[in-house]
């Protein structure tokens, strides 16, 4: 496994998302998401790779939700958690009362969790997210789930098929939920294969070297032997 600092992981996330074709504003959201996942000790990197590989510079409109009341769907593809998550948070102060939103066919749902947390903080509402067998509840900055972090993480990584996710306001944590803690000092551990995939995506954002670029781009010569 490879150990990255939180800032390295953030920077790599931003560039990988950019390499997959996301506009910079959504790349910034990906960074916020990566930092949050990192501080929960959830491994979002593999999920990000999966997402980037599916989006892969296609028009983002394909992965953008059509909102039919509380049902979010995509006309001809799966939904992107960065786009859906950003749309949720953008609506944080517009969502009132006991909302219930169903997001269908969502790629890498683990990447939606940071946005759910942000939504809870911004709206002041306790929010529950559930898919497959997994349930997470966020109330301001406290989190409760039906698995501990490790089990939750493993369940997410086993399931790579787009899934329907349900979001709702939840008033009180169930006694059977486990509280998660956050560690803002966390670093990121990821597999060499995952690192390589992210680096490959990031590589797309670097301009090929040319002689003109080398000579003029930095405004400096190659030797400073003085």
């Amino acid at each position: 496994m490879v150990d990255l600092s939180a800032n390295e992981a953030a920077s790599l996330t931003k560039l990988a998302a950019r390499g997959a074709g996301y506009p910079w504003g959504l790349c910034e959201e990906a960074v916020v998401a990566a930092r949050w996942l990192c501080s929960c000790e959830l491994s979002g990197s593999q999920a990000l790779v999966l997402l980037c590989q599916q989006v892969d510079r296609q028009p983002l409109s394909r992965f953008t939700p059509h909102m039919d009341g509380a049902i979010w769907t995509s006309a001809d593809s799966s939904l992107c958690p960065l786009i859906c998550g950003s749309a949720l948070c953008d609506r944080a102060t517009l969502l009132t009362g006991l909302f219930h939103i169903v997001i269908k066919n969502l790629i890498s749902p683990i990447l939606l969790l940071p946005f759910v947390s942000q939504l809870s903080v911004q709206s002041g509402l306790p929010v529950q997210i559930a898919w497959n067998e997994l349930v997470l509840m966020v109330d301001a900055e406290r989190m409760y789930a039906n698995r501990d972090v490790k089990e939750f993480d493993q369940s997410c990584s086993l399931n790579v098929v787009p899934t329907t996710v349900e979001l709702s306001v939840h008033i009180a944590p169930s006694a059977s939920l486990v509280e998660w803690s956050m560690n803002i000092d966390s670093r990121q551990t990821l597999s060499p294969a995952c690192l390589q995939e992210l680096q490959k995506l990031a590589q797309r954002t670097y301009a090929p070297n040319t002689e003109q670029s080398r000579l003029q781009g930095a405004g400096a010569g190659n030797s400073d032997n003085e």
């Binding site: 609506r91 670029s213 080398r214």
Partner: protein
Amino acid sequence: MANRNEPRPDHPCDVVQRRPADVVMRLERLGSLHQSRLSFMRILTRRLQNDNWTITHKTFCIDETGVGYATYSIAGPHNTYTLVAFAHDLPPEQRSDRVIATAWDATFTLYDGIPSEADISRLAANVPFQEAGRISSTELTLARANRSVRLWEHVVTALAMGKQPDKQQIESVGYLMRTTAVYGSGKFGATDRQAVADRPEFSVPFQAEMLTVYLIRTFVRDLVQHMATVQGGPTTAQLEPDLARRLGIGNSTGLGMAPFLVNHPQLFNNWITVREEALVRVRSLESVSLPDWEVFKDLLARTRLSVDTWHSAHPLQTEKIQQLTVDLASLDTHLRQVEPHTQWLWDRLYEWSVSVLGVEAQECLVSLMMEPYADLIDDLDGCMSAPDGTLPINGSMPVNQLRQLIEEHYPWALKLDWDTREQCARAWYVSEEKLEPRLGERFEEPIEAFEQPLAPARDVCRLHAALVSFDAETVCAEFLLRHPEHRHAVRRAQLINQAPYAEIRDNTISASLVPFDMLRCKLAFFGATHFDPRSDRWLRICLYANAPYPDEISSRDADTWIYPPLH
């Protein structure tokens, strides 16, 4: 005496306000900033003295060819940090200040604690390779430096012959080594800033980097003495402390620093706000005590001396230095006619400077006016950080309100014709060659597809144009669902409403952009002096010249050392 910011009926203006962002955030002014008592370097040396930081442990294992390692451990009230320095034998043809270099005269890391032998071995296998190596969560920074060949040889030769080096030569170069990168905050595996930000010594930005450079300067002094002794044997002269103190550490800075100011708008806003608030506090003083007036005049004289030894071959900088020299002489003359008991003296002096002096001298005066007022100003250093993270977007804001925000804060940008080649002639990008940040010609090179988001003014104008086709009451959330490409610009436009100094109010991709203005601005906050642009996109500076070394910091001036002594 009236309190700051209280109405002053007997004064021409009611209450001193912070200067408008439209004045402060122009590149011409940002590129004319000077160090001040709020510079990161001076905040560090004051702390080192106030908290009795001392060198507790030192090793120096460097052979006769100048190859080996050394460590310097410095301890404060709660923590100890160790500079681990590796000295190398660098072939002259490999000596390059650029990011694309792969070897250096010396390489460094700042270790969190006292390293074991195993740590030294691990670091020896990584630090000399810089970006190609890995450091870990026990390291705070990674840095490298190259010799100033000319001064290095002069100093070694002179000392080896039993003589002191020539003071003029020392002052004309200013340093024996210049750092060509000082990486911190998680780079290449180092610890993240947020992991140590709760330590008092790191509450102010860039303190680990400033400490690294401060200790590098000590190492360089010791290394030059060692090399002279190797050459000269027992009759080698010891470098006189007064001469050694004149030596700073150079730094060669390229375009990598420019994006920082654009990429950290909240942090940049806080730095400028603190400086502007300090100016307000001084201008709001009704009277000036004679001792404070004398401090100011003394430091002006020392500033003039420093400017006299500030050399640059770059025509733009040469002109600025000449104008600054003339303006500081005018200021001196003006002060002779000023009665120090004049009411609202500082405010009058500032207003006088705006009407008479150039921007470079105005900003120099701003820094000087702060000098006598440690008690009034120094507590502002606690406001120079910013929380990590990205500002959430207010999606409920109607698009007409967003449009108004843009019209209020970016009128200068909306006036530009972004369809002309001149306004968007340049593009910022990162080269695949060692990820060197570069600036290219958009219409002449195949770089646009790789453009970094460093043209906020253009992007906000594009956003403004896109908003026109939406109903006034449509909320940003709806707009962004259809136009995610404007998300970055929406965030900036909403931020600037809360943080007026967050944005450089100039076109960062125009044909007439002078990138070194951006570099200088950041370096001035570090505390750099003697800015010497080598082209429009990189410059050399000097750090810590005249600063006390760690072994004398408790007994010497740890604050205003940055102004050279008059004698």
